[in-house]
Symmetry: C2
Subunit: 121 residues, 2 copies
């Protein structure tokens, strides 16, 4: 029941593509991540996933097109849909994710970037 | 799977304390609202509720204290906890809510401000 400042929380870590948990809402969690470059193609069989861009511009690649998501914008990736977020080359982007606590980081694939735990900050 | 711009969505309505649904994530929904003045004291027996301030400053009153929530900040009100959001007098504040689709607007109370449906925009 304390106010959470997103910018302050983002300042607490410097790893890329590694979500940090800042809050829980019922069986969902709020994650923050810093991202740069391209992630990995994957899907989540059972869970939708919401992305909100806090700083920068995120490109959400789908197999048939790419959606541009800027500061103050959100996008929901439905369950089962392959996606691969990326940024402009060398550009750091700050994002907030809202998803089930059960959601696996890279969904149906395992990759060097795959994280199995999200630090609570 | 389309990018959603929060500011553009907020521009589509001018009623206060009436959430509008902009997205669904599993059994949760993303709502936008414009608020001004004081709401009504209530609690949600079974659901947590996340508030994010998009524009302005929100005061989340609890029975024992008030949390200030500014732009770029969030607060989660746990299930069962009485709360009553308010703004500075005459000031319009834009908020995003993240909560179960089942969450009743004014929880355990009925009030002139109570809305039973949230337009989809």
């Amino acid at each position: 029941m304390k106010t959470i400042n997103l910018q302050e929380k983002h300042s607490r870590f410097n790893t890329y593509w590694h979500p940090h948990q800042i809050a829980v809402v019922d069986d969902m969690q709020v994650l923050l991540a810093k991202v740069k470059g391209e992630f990995v193609w994957h899907s989540h069989e059972h869970e939708d996933e919401l992305f909100q861009v806090i700083k920068g511009t995120l490109y959400m690649q789908f197999r048939d097109r790419t959606e541009v998501v800027r500061e103050g914008e959100i996008i929901v990736v439905p369950k089962g849909v392959e996606h691969c977020p990326k940024t402009d080359e060398g550009k750091e982007v700050h994002i907030l994710l809202f998803e089930k606590i059960s959601t696996a980081h890279t969904g149906n694939v395992t990759h060097d970037l795959t994280q199995t735990t999200y630090p609570k900050i």
